[in-house]
């Protein structure tokens, strides 16, 4: 397994509609393994293939430690209810916003053996399913967040500190 680089901010890959996984090959299995490792390394609860530069419809989610969901070609088939809360994205580091999501989501997908299965989730899992499947269509949560939170105090003063630190490096 290998950790991959997470694309951030204005990388156009994040805005591309991904194509379905045509066949589950060893490369796809490796991709899934790498995505889980990358997500865990970044302390995330979900990661989509385009975030590591692969334009395929594949997603990994781990909202409950140790319970990894791998979704290949996922398709949301049912949603209900509403939840409001904060959301962040590994591709948009340091930012977070207030996003409304359905409180219940039912999604159909293939597992790594190519078998179709249905995953249901509420609360954080429902939020993560929506967030990650959005990535596959080039959508980011900032497109429809009600509002964004201001960065934390430290981060607002940090540009100056960073400059200071750079000076010292030289």
């Amino acid at each position: 397994m290998a950790k991959r680089k997470i694309l951030t901010d204005n990388d156009p890959t994040l805005r591309t509609v991904c194509r379905p996984v045509p066949r589950i090959t060893p490369r796809v299995i490796t991709l899934l393994d790498d995505m889980v490792e990358t997500m865990r390394y970044a302390n995330g609860v979900g990661l989509a293939a385009p975030q590591v530069g692969v334009l395929l419809r594949a997603v990994v989610i781990e909202t409950e430690p140790g319970v990894v969901h791998e979704l290949i070609n996922p398709e949301i088939i049912e949603t209900s209810g509403e939840q409001e809360g904060s959301e962040g994205c590994l591709s948009l580091p340091g930012r977070s916003g207030h996003v409304k999501r359905p409180n219940y989501v039912k999604v159909k997908a293939l597992n790594r053996n190519g078998e179709e299965y249905v995953l249901e989730g509420t609360e954080l899992l429902a939020r993560a399913i929506c967030h990650e499947t959005d990535h596959l269509d080039g959508h980011l949560y900032i497109d429809f967040a009600d509002y964004m939170y201001e960065p934390e105090e430290e981060e607002r003063v940090s540009p100056r500190l960073r400059k200071h630190a750079r000076k010292h490096e030289r």
Binding site: G44, G46, S86
Partner: protein, 433 residues
Amino acid sequence: MAEVKNVRRAALDVLMRMEKEQGEGYSNRLVDSAISKHGFDGADRALLSQLVSGVTERRITLDYIISKFSRSPLSKLDSDALCLLRMGIYQLRYLDRIPQHAAVNETVNLARSRSRGFINAILRSYLRTDSIKFPEKPDDLRLSVTYSAPRELCAKFISIFGAVESEKILASYLDAPALTLRVNTLKTTRDELISILEAEGFECIPTTTSPYGIRVTGSGLPTAIREGLCFVQDESSQISSLVLDPKAGDVLLDACACPGGKSFSAAMLMENKGSITSRDLHASKLPLISSGAERLGISIIKTEERDSSLPTDKKYTKIICDVPCSGLGVAAKKTEIKYRSLSENAELPPLQYSILAAVSKSLEVGGVLVYSTCTILPEENENVVDKFLSEHTNFEAVPFKVGEHNAPSGKLTLLPTAEHDGFFILKITKKSN
């Protein structure tokens, strides 16, 4: 997706949800689910519960202060702006370990851009103000603003207990609630348990009236609870068991038993000999009693799902009749209780009476029944039992004395203090059929 771990954000989410549901969801349940959702631990976890319970407990006081600075009435504010203002003022006023600039900045950062300036202005003008004048007259308004209790409740307490006593009661609602344990005398003694708890780093104070209670302070829950050496039970509730005085061989009914504390206490006083029927209306809660009994090594408890307001033929030598009530004796533990409208209590006295009347039919001649509530309102206590005694002349009240509490009329009201809950206890016996 990256998880956003911001304690103040999570606290705001819980407070807004409570505001929306108007006290429907108990704050501790919402806090627990936020903790497990975000995986908060240590200091984050403590700050989250402190913010939620503190803001809830002081809401009326905080709103009074905000209204002194806000030009528009509070009802016109967005609910998130109002909740943020409450959180901000709460941190500035009551949490001295949080630096002021952090309390202001981190609160303002959570706001939507259109209310940011407004929230910032109010918090900063609060900081510039030396002291805020609270109303001095009339008493009900003064108590309401000072102790954050609805004016209606303050007026009611003043009419029953007078202003001085009411002030003590309302102040006790703001005390950090005591965690009191009842030693499992089937497995250990109070002194032994104290040394076990102290070894685990808890500070222990033996209760004065109950010889089985220990008030503990410390962080987290003692492992002795999981090991069945004790269970959580307020001293007032322990006192009610002492008043009933069950003995080995008794055939005892606990008519509204959940979550089971009084049944457990009785089983210990009975040295696990005899029989206890722990009855409750809600079958879903009964497994709590069975699992608790198992943990404590009690074998004489049988659970029963039944509506206690309907009489049965079976007879018992001792009966515990701890009826549903307004809970105004335990408002320090469940902050939402004090904010409930008094009109919600109207249906309680008839229910309490019907349970007492039905359950009393199951008492053997010469048997003892203890009626109790965790409230201090006469209409749920004295009035219910006086009506019962006047309509059931074959019953009489039994005078009792526990510790320093003397009850020559067989009735005892314990007002809530920092040490124990508010409680009412009546002891009666059946003279003839």
